[in-house]
């Protein structure tokens, strides 16, 4: 039994677990964990790689055919800076896919909705496949959809916090309304959080800290893979609605028959 494949901007993904590459204790360990995770979309911070170096250590460990690279703009503070960095990333990494991250606040790394929308609009015009990291703001998601982003990436809770789906109510609205794939990004601290997001109907999740900082990152990557598959299969199988009480055995309306 397999999940329905996910399609973003014409590319088909058989894994709905997207992954990050930061915070691992070594590049080989990262590589092993990502391979075990089954992930096919892997985000890389432009600030961490040397795009002028053909032998960059991090990139070297990501050169597997199943990994599609998703460069991110972490570190920029404005739309202008993001557009410039994106163009450099496209040229250097030979992909027009981009995780648009504009978080001018370095303490909680919360995304700037105004700059993100501005940058997204311009980047789409420049031919990028834009996946913006944003608050779980349903209206912003619709606005981004209108300017042509390929997916939206609302946060579950502050990045790196491992607090899970604190924005659940808003994620539900976003998933309900969205015409582009919804990827829950940030705050997913445990496989159960990932499964919960998938059960809600998220199209994918992006996980980094919870895998990289785990006691056994490779095993944790495997656990996330299973959780994402379980959550998605459950969503596709249609969950039974939770009930507070047992069903009444004698129907109340049978006298109408």
């Amino acid at each position: 039994m397999t999940m329905q494949p996910l399609v973003i901007a014409g590319r088909t993904f058989s894994s709905r677990l997207f992954t990050g590459t930061g915070k691992f204790s070594s590049a080989p360990l990262m590589e092993e964990a990502l391979l075990v995770s089954g992930s096919e979309l892997v985000t890389v911070a432009l600030k961490r790689v040397d795009v002028t170096d053909a032998h960059d250590d991090l990139l070297g460990h990501l050169s597997h055919p199943q990994f599609q690279l998703l460069p991110n703009t972490s570190g920029v503070r404005t739309a202008k800076e993001a557009v410039f960095a994106a163009q450099l990333a496209r040229e250097a990494l030979e992909t027009n896919w981009l995780k648009l991250e504009i978080h001018p606040d370095p303490k909680y790394l919360l995304p700037d909705p105004v700059e993100t929308l501005k940058a997204a609009e311009e980047l789409v015009k420049l031919g990028f496949v834009v996946l913006p990291y944003i608050h779980a703001d349903p209206v912003l998601c619709k606005r981004l959809e209108e300017v042509g982003v390929a997916a939206v990436m609302p946060l579950g809770s502050p990045i790196g916090s491992n607090k899970g789906l604190l924005t659940r109510e808003f994620l539900e609205i976003i998933i309900d309304q969205s015409r582009v794939p919804v990827v829950v990004d940030a705050g997913i601290g445990a496989p159960s959080h990932a499964a919960a997001a998938m059960e809600l109907g998220a199209d994918a999740v992006l996980v980094n800290t919870a895998i990289a900082v785990a006691g056994q990152p490779v095993q944790m990557a495997h656990a996330f893979r299973l959780a994402v598959e379980a959550g998605r299969l459950a969503y596709e199988a249609r969950l039974a609605a939770p009930r507070a009480h047992a069903e009444a055995s004698s129907p109340l309306t049978s006298f109408l028959d």
């Binding site: 040397d50 503070r77 202008k80 557009v83 960095a85 909680y108």
Partner: protein, 373 residues
């Protein structure tokens, strides 16, 4: 808006007394609190917290790994000049110290840079004394322009500048500025800085505000341990940091912990800070602030540095020379202070790996802050 009114509202002696009055109960409350306040921080740096060091270290380790992952960043100082018009009682570059003065030319900077690049460095910290005629803003701008093509991340530890000067240097690639208050004790500050522009306490105190207004990406704060009571000075540093984070919310912050080291012809520390106390302070800062970067230099011994990277430290220097030209141009010139850890960057990187951390050489890219016309 500036830090000055907040600073003036705190009397040194009152702060000191309140830190030393903290009890074990205060420490336990601080350790159990979901969010550490400045009052909690006082308890954590007080003598009453000494028996709780192991617990603080464990918490600090966990919080640091959550935020920064299993990584330690590497940087290296590049001393450009030892010319200085200030008298500072603890510094080898002090005006009254009869040493040969040396300022690197652009060609010499590049010679030094070549070695640092061979070692793998992408983050360089430019250091000078304060001599406005020879190493003023024009010189610094030239240095940044010269080195920018070679380093992903340029930091600077020089004299405090005016806001307009910072605004001039940032677009050229200046990413981080370190400016240490040395001590927040006003009278003692005057004693240790009797002559030169540096003797103006408030101009220095206002420097982080000017940096914030100029839109600097990152700034580093700290005091020099050995001049005054380290606990009180650290409270003022934390107070300063708390104000800055709220005011200049787009800037990142780092803290350093320089302990006074012997340098030629200088005073001995008035207050000794033990290894145990330094660990207490580092852990207390981490418990107060999960996001602040904590940095340790080669002033500290190999044994101390090997152990401290698990306790909250996020960046470390290695292979450092504290004299201008110290890497290749003129290795024998006089250093600012003696370093304690002489291991090479490769040895430090291997040590970091052995402890289960990844040494990170590059964590910034000039492309991320390039002004678009």
């Amino acid at each position: 808006m500036s830090f000055r009114p907040i600073f003036d509202a705190h009397r040194w002696d009152d702060v000191k007394a309140s830190i030393y009055a903290k009890t074990a109960a205060d420490v336990e409350r601080a350790l159990a609190a979901p969010k550490c306040t400045l009052e909690d921080f006082k308890a954590l740096i007080s003598p009453a917290a000494a028996p709780y060091l192991e617990q603080m270290a464990r918490l600090s380790n966990q919080l640091t790994r959550k935020r920064f992952g299993n990584t330690v960043q590497l940087y290296v100082p590049l001393y450009l000049s030892n010319e200085c018009q200030n008298i500072c009682t603890y510094c080898g570059f002090s005006l009254d110290n009869k040493i040969r003065r040396r300022t690197l030319s652009s060609v010499e900077m590049l010679q030094e840079a070549t070695v640092l690049k061979e070692w793998g460095y992408e983050h360089v910290l430019l250091v000078t004394g304060e001599a406005n005629q020879t190493v003023g803003v024009d010189y610094l701008q030239k240095a940044i322009q010269t080195l920018r093509p070679h380093f992903a991340h340029i930091s600077m530890e020089v004299q405090p500048l005016d806001r307009e000067d910072y605004e001039r240097l940032i677009p050229d690639g200046l990413h981080t500025v370190l400016v240490y208050q040395e001590t927040y004790h006003q009278e003692d500050y005057k004693k240790h800085h009797p002559k030169g522009k540096k003797s103006n306490f408030y101009y220095r105190l206002d420097t982080p505000d000017r940096l914030g207004q100029a839109g600097i990406h990152k700034m580093g704060l700290g005091v020099l341990f050995g001049l005054e009571d380290w606990r009180t000075d650290s409270f003022f540093t934390a107070l300063h940091l708390a104000y800055l984070e709220r005011t200049y919310w787009q800037t990142r912050y780092s803290l350093s912990f320089p302990r006074l080291r012997p340098a030629e012809g200088l005073l001995q520390p008035k207050v000794e800070m033990s290894d145990r106390e330094l660990v207490q302070l580092i852990c207390a800062y981490r418990l107060l602030n999960e996001e602040v970067e904590l940095s340790i230099s080669t002033r500290e011994t190999p044994t101390f540095r090997d152990h401290i990277i698990k306790l909250g430290i996020t960046s470390i220097s290695a292979g450092s020379k504290t004299n201008p030209g110290g890497y290749v141009v003129e290795p024998e010139s006089l250093e600012q202070f003696e370093i304690s850890d002489e291991r090479s960057p490769a040895e430090i990187a291997a040590m970091i790996r052995r402890q289960g951390y990844e040494p990170v050489w590059k964590d910034w890219d000039q492309a991320l802050a390039t002004p678009v016309p």
